[in-house]
């Protein structure tokens, strides 16, 4: 594992719920990232976020990390959950709340 992948692993493991996104939760820079934040907030769950726009290495490296070419990406307890479509779909089915223990 190279440095970037290691750094991503550490970030993923740094909290139970970690969202890689464009911008910050209060100022998302992309509609899909904003939607992911809204869903997490609806679940009333505490989460950490990482702004990939502030780190080009992570922005590229995260695509390989989970073989997933788009952002946002949600991780719960170290496990890749999905991008914005999957996050929203799971929320609507009540599966995300279960996963988050919310």
């Amino acid at each position: 594992m190279n440095d970037v992948q290691q750094r991503i692993r550490q970030t993923v493991d740094s909290d139970d719920v970690v969202l890689f996104m464009k911008g910050s939760p209060d100022f998302p820079q992309c509609g899909f990232s904003g939607r992911a934040v809204q869903v997490l907030r609806s679940c009333n769950v505490k989460f950490s976020s990482f702004d990939v726009l502030a780190d080009e290495d992570v922005r590229q490296g995260i695509k390989e990390f989970s073989n997933w070419p788009t952002i946002p990406q949600l991780y719960v307890k170290g496990e890749f959950i999905g991008g914005s479509d999957i996050i929203l779909d799971m929320y609507e089915k009540g599966e995300l709340q279960k996963k988050l223990g919310a």
């Binding site: 899909f32 959950i81 999905g82 914005s84 779909d89």
Partner: protein, 80 residues
């Protein structure tokens, strides 16, 4: 500019017997995709199959692709 029909064609060429409904404005696209290869896979794995087919196009031509993936049976039951 990428047209919805282009993406439909790429997916159909890469995924055998795929059915694709797609709309978009050249930058943002919404797709519903059904394919026998999705059977027994979770959503992440299904999306990864589609991303795999689109490859580097996801990094360049396609700015954003929102998708729902279905098995053929799910597709049929949704469309009655």
């Amino acid at each position: 500019m990428v047209m919805p029909e282009d993406i439909k064609k790429w997916i159909e060429q890469g995924l055998e017997e795929a059915r694709v409904e797609i709309e978009g404005d050249g930058r943002h696209f919404n797709a519903v995709i059904a394919c026998p290869a999705f059977e027994g896979k979770n959503s992440v794995q299904q999306h990864q199959l589609v991303y795999g087919v689109l490859g580097d196009k996801m990094k360049s031509e396609i700015h954003a692709l929102s998708m729902r993936t279905l098995t053929p049976a799910e597709w049929d039951s949704e469309r009655g």
